[in-house]
């Protein structure tokens, strides 16, 4: 959600925080905006508006008190661990994500107790053959139906069910639509969640998963060559054919994200060929309301940390953390970085003890979450750690925007 303009024109701004007793309806909010400064509004309410750029402080409850949907956007290329990421996030809201019951077995949707994850591939307006005909890749804006994407996400935010198309990844065709009922949390994941400005403005918290070319290549070789029997040449050709559109349409979206997870080759092994040890950076935008960046040791300082070997077992090449302020596409960010991997995940509690502003509900929750999901890829490195941290941030964003409390899920 973006500034008052959007809220006022779309009309789905319904009621302000209960704590702001003098601001009870959208109409009143608009009347009073001139009287009270934005900063004062922020002080008067304990809740916060989405993505820190809204002119009015509101929570997402309709006039009837019914909960509206919070929208989380996750941008990432395919085969980059989006589903693991989603699983770590949705788990914090309870239940296991499953495809809609009794629906199309090739549905890309995952539903759990409070969350629904939809894949933006479902908004392809060109199927595999259509793209071939027109000579465009699946990454091209021409292959996406942004109007429908916008209309449907907007409708869900307004509490209305929608008939969302299904892009069948097996056949490459568009299947008959499925009904999406507004959930408490809608996660839209795919290649273009922030590309269309109307869609971007509907998103309350945005995440970009940024896999460096070197790591992406290593992963694709692992998956497509080892598991699917593709040749090295065909993998290289496939990556290279996608690259121009990826760079033109996907990559620039990271400038709009609230948090970016970058997966890079390790710096602990000189000239590492294997790309199995990863350096993962969590780039957290400053000044985003409802989102306080996690920090290491001391907020605002620049810190590099090689944890004590007596407290954390780490074999070659060891573990190194970094934290510090930086700028990213001209905006102030805090960067938290982890290079290397954990030997014993239960010792993560020691790392957790030095992290602050984690949005965990109790000391040990990060470690508990990581231990619960040891089987997930990336559990022993920064991808798992930062996905878990972002899951906690998503939960906090939801709680702050709705003034509701999510019970912490025990192990």
């Amino acid at each position: 959600m973006r500034p008052g303009t959007t809220m006022a024109t779309t009309g789905h701004l319904t009621s302000a925080s209960k704590r702001m007793s003098f601001v009870r309806s959208a109409g009143v909010v608009q009347h009073r905006m001139g009287m009270v400064s934005q900063r004062m509004h922020q002080r008067m309410s304990s809740s916060c508006s989405s993505r820190g750029r809204s002119t009015a402080v509101v929570t997402y409850a309709s006039a009837s008190g019914e909960q509206k949907t919070i929208v989380i956007g996750l941008a990432a290329d395919s085969g980059c661990g989006k589903s693991t990421f989603m699983r770590r996030v949705t788990q914090l809201f309870g239940g296991d994500p499953e495809p809609p019951k009794g629906g199309n077995p090739d549905s890309n949707t995952l539903i759990s107790d409070n969350t629904t994850v939809i894949c933006l591939d479902d908004y392809h307006c060109l199927d595999r053959y259509g793209r071939k005909d027109k000579g465009v890749t699946a990454l091209a804006p021409e292959a996406q139906d942004f109007d429908l994407m916008y209309e449907q996400i907007k409708a869900i935010k307004e509490g209305k069910s929608v008939e969302k198309p299904i892009y069948n990844h097996v056949t490459g065709l568009l299947d008959p639509p499925e009904t999406i009922v507004p959930p408490k949390i809608l996660i839209v994941e795919g290649l273009h969640p922030f590309f269309d400005e109307r869609v971007n403005e509907l998103i309350d918290f945005s995440i970009y998963l940024d896999i460096s070319d070197e790591v992406k290549f290593a992963w694709k070789i692992q998956r497509d060559m080892a598991e699917r029997g593709h040749s090295l040449e065909s993998i290289q050709a496939s990556i290279e054919s996608r690259k121009p559109d990826f760079d033109a349409y996907i990559d620039p979206q990271k400038a709009k994200a609230d948090v970016i997870v970058q997966v890079l080759p390790t710096q602990l092994i000189p000239d590492d060929e294997e790309k199995k040890v990863l350096r993962v950076k969590m780039i957290q935008k400053e000044d985003v309301e409802c989102f306080d960046p996690t920090y290491l040791f001391d907020e605002g300082s620049t810190v590099s940390w090689i944890p004590c070997g007596r407290k954390l077992t780490c074999s070659f090449p060891g573990i190194k953390f970094f934290y510090g302020p930086d700028t990213f596409y001209g905006e102030n960010v805090s960067v938290l970085e982890m290079d290397g991997q954990f030997d014993k995940l239960e010792e993560l509690i020691y790392v957790e003890s030095h992290l602050s502003n984690t949005s965990a509900k109790f000391y040990g929750e990060i470690t508990q979450q990581m231990l619960k999901n040891t089987a997930f890829p990336g559990s022993n490195n920064g991808t798992g750690l930062f996905q878990t941290l972002i899951g906690l941030k998503v939960r906090e964003v939801y709680e702050k925007m709705t003034s509701k409390t999510v019970e912490s899920v025990s192990a």
Copy 2:
């Protein structure tokens, strides 16, 4: 003081900690040593033996309950800030250090409420002319009377006054002796406090002030050229003539010290010519009883820290801290390092908040001490900070060895 051999043969081991009710006299200690392991002894007493290598846990109280003298050794070259260092340390025990009242105006001794600082130059056995005759420098062991040094420090530890010679730095001659009454804390400072093993064993806590050649040269130029009108060539010649003996007899003593303060050129300014910005390292030996090394953020980790610019004002070239484990002459040490200088000393409280095991009696004591002494050289950099920290350690060593409490001195 060193292992049981020394204590048993010298016979000045008198009574054990009051808390160790079954160990009441030196004789009993010796009888029981075989029955109880050293570790158990350590657990049974809350106090600790000197320099961590003693076989019996004792506190320094005589049979009559009278306090014995704790001896602190400070090794350093002349013109390297020893007197400032001493002032910072003795201050913590109350009173201002002054030469003995009514004595030789050229006395090198400084006496305050509870401390006496003696200069080991007083144990020169060759005066300026004698050294010239024999062709030895003031650094040569042949120019020191180690027998007398040992006998007198031992006597002071035994509670006996001594007639200590005075080396007159003005005339270069040995003046008639002065009486040194046993103080609570005797600080022996000079070129050879740890050189003679008998003397070294009498020292309860040892400090080596290690100024790198580059910094020493810059300081000497500043003092001898600017203030005393010496030529650059004569300064260079003087340094070079001292260097062989310094390297042979003084420098190796740092291997024996419990804590070493190294003053090095900054690494924040590439090819710094001025040598005004300093990088100061405090090398703290591990496993020394009564001495817990100070650490930054997390004990045993390796941390580099550039403090937050919002919390600590620092103009060019900034401030950088480092902390981590290392080895020094084959022994385990913890290194704490500060490069750069403070702009506003009152903001040191922020740095203090991230230091642990400082031996301060209250949060803010380090900052208070530093602010009290802003006029002292090195107050805005690591020399002042680490001298203050070592002062607090000396106080703690004294308290632990004597089971007495030193009142903290308010500003």
